[in-house]
Amino acid sequence: MLRFTLERLVGMVVTMALVSVMVFLIMELPPGDYADRYAFRKYSGTGVNVTEADIQAIRVDLGLDKPLVFRYFDWIGGIVLHGDFGQAFAFETSVLKVIGDKIWLTLGILFSTLIVTYMVSIPIGIYAAVRRASVADYGLTVFSYLGLALPNFLLALILLYFANKWFGADIGGLFSADYKDAPWSFAKAWDLFKHLWLPAFVLAWSAVAYQLQTVRATMSDEINKLAVTAARARGVPETKLLIKYPARLAINPVVSTIGFDVNRIFSELPIVAVVLGLTELGELLLRAYLDLDMYVAGAILLLLTFMIVFMNFISDLLLAWLDPRIKLGASS
């Protein structure tokens, strides 16, 4: 198990290194560089005349005149060695400050979404497989198609519309007005919790549709396995039998795709965040892109990807723990 863990860890580091190169290239992609945009943003409209020399001075100051490879190592070195993600010019402060506790909000959204996803898809998927061709089973098929076809942000719009129409309530956002800028307290956390269910539900939408299909398909396979018949032939009571034998295996593919789900959630997060007015990393990422605040954008893209890679790692470990066959394959 130790060797297995180490192997996965090394794989994770290599992947992240390659990801960082790609993220850096994306940061470098827009025309002009940080110095240009900084100068333009700071002085345009102020009447101050910025010369090319001034910009060059900023450039040299920040080390932006160095070749690409050096700049990459400056950037990644700062992150890895000092936790320094660079400067956010739109806010005139460090990227880290801008991101701040949005990381925790994002993680909160992520985990509540994952919880909703699995709490819904696993039991219903199992139920539909046990009661094949029942109303639940057909309903599920229809829902999975819809879940894949109706994009989350449109669902969010529709929900907002109906919430407004029926309850006259604005259910968007992460906090009520009272707590928005208040310091963290128990009451604020509770307020956040009350607001989390909507984004969690919206983001879980397509993940549920996908996982329902998976759970149902594996469960249907597992139910017909000989091991289940053999256990039944030993007199194991039906409900216990279903849970202990096929259901236990039907969650394996779910566990192995946790990383995918996180990926999907983060992929949809920026768009949903705009609609629902969520002030977390996804929304910040979108704003950073629109403002070409590339250090902020790069940092967020890197962080989101890191969380995905990390969850992949967790899912590998979980799976090895859940399924003894994998451990054996890895050590031999």
Binding site: I26, D170, I271, Y289
Partner: protein, 387 residues
């Protein structure tokens, strides 16, 4: 089963075959593609989806003819106007031909703003295939005829209402259909070519080449795709023309759409690279590209087609999402995403819900592609048991 048919063939000339045997004979001598088509045809939902999609595509292609107005033509007398539903009856009785009520402008007694209200005493009749705005079909054939319009050339028909600038939502949606579907096609095409090259290289050469390509693929798969697309789209210079942006978008979507398909091609190639016929071709000195294209790909074309069909939804949804948040196509180009940009706030949806109509198109198109993909998969591989 096959042997039975062969025996039948040996035993009698064709004229002696019974109806049943003839049917069997036809079945067994049909090509793989005919078989797939026969099986697909039995899949009712998929057939409906395919017809829907074809209609949608035709509307898009012949947008100039189908849409009564251009995507940016304005009707300043009917801003934020509600859909004008063609009717056959009103308080003045019924007619055989559909009509709408004329519009007159009044001043809102409270806000003093000019508002449009239907004039229930004035009927304007709808006609099919009549002359209207001059446009160019497919961008180069000048036409004046449109699928439908109003008899009275001065009145304008907005069956799906208008937006805040008085632009006809029906016409805009039809033009948007063209853009969105074509972006999907181009994106899928580009990612197909890339998948062919990348997956082909990995699967044909295997070994170290394969390992490197696998690593890179892994990196692309692990980064959340929409934020990645957004990063590339954000880099498009502000001064680019709509055409440049359109092509850049297809490139962006295509650039990262290949991993799934490349994986399929790679694993299929790996599994058959040591088959006799491939080895024979290699020994005969054929070039890799020729061996892959002529000898290896045909053995799993049907799977590739299925994968291509089911990758459409991702393209369409990505384009819609990007344009929706302002990082994709930009006005005056119209696409489903661009149109939905106008419907971003609840207030807008509340007051002018018809601006949400393009969303229905998105859902229907994605649903159709998914259903067709499933139908094709069942047809191409009947033994894979639909789960």
């Amino acid at each position: 089963m096959t042997s039975v048919v062969n025996d039948d063939l040996k035993n009698g000339s064709e004229s002696e075959l019974t109806e049943d045997q003839k049917r069997l004979l036809k079945y067994y001598s049909a090509s793989q593609w005919t078989l797939i088509w026969w099986r697909f045809r039995r899949h009712r939902t998929a057939m409906i989806a395919a017809s829907l999609l074809i209609v949608m595509a035709l509307f898009g292609i012949f947008a100039e003819f189908v849409a009564p107005y251009g995507p940016t033509s304005r009707n300043t007398k009917y801003l934020d106007g509600a859909p004008q539903i063609p009717q056959f009856c009103d308080q003045n009785g019924c007619s055989m031909r559909p009509f709408i009520h004329g519009v007159s402008t009044k001043r809102d007694p409270v806000t003093l703003r000019a508002i449009s209200v239907p004039d229930t005493n004035k009927r304007v009749y709808i006609e099919m295939c009549l002359e209207g705005e001059k446009t160019e079909l497919l961008g180069f054939i000048p036409i004046k005829t449109h699928l439908f319009g109003l008899q009275d050339p001065k009145a304008k028909l907005h069956i799906w209402g208008t937006d805040d600038l008085g632009r006809d939502m029906f016409s805009r949606t039809i033009y948007a259909t063209r853009t969105s579907l074509s972006i999907g096609v181009m994106g899928v095409f580009i990612s197909f070519v890339l998948a062919l090259i990348i997956g082909g290289t990995a699967g044909y050469f295997g070994g170290r080449t394969d390992m490197v390509i696998q690593r890179v693929t892994e990196v692309i798969r692990v980064v959340p795709i929409i934020p990645l697309y957004m990063g590339l789209a954000a880099a498009m210079p502000k001064e680019w023309s709509t055409t440049q942006i359109y092509f850049a978008m297809t490139l962006i979507l295509g650039l990262f759409g290949w991993p799934t398909l490349a994986r399929r091609i790679r694993s299929q190639l790996l599994s058959i690279r040591n088959e006799d016929y491939v080895v024979a071709a290699r020994l005969a000195g054929a070039k890799p590209s020729r061996i892959i294209g002529q000898h290896m790909l045909p053995s799993f074309t049907s799977f590739i087609i299925v994968d291509l069909v089911i990758s459409f939804p991702y393209m369409i949804l990505s384009e819609t999402a990007l344009s929706f948040v302002g990082l994709g196509l930009r006005p005056p180009t119209v696409s489903w995403g661009v149109l939905l940009q106008q419907a971003q706030s609840i207030r807008v949806i509340e007051q002018t819900p018809w601006l949400f109509i393009p969303a229905v198109f998105v859902v229907v198109a994605v649903l159709a592609f998914t259903v067709i993909g499933d139908g094709l998969r069942d047809a191409a591989d009947p033994y894979a048991e639909a789960k």
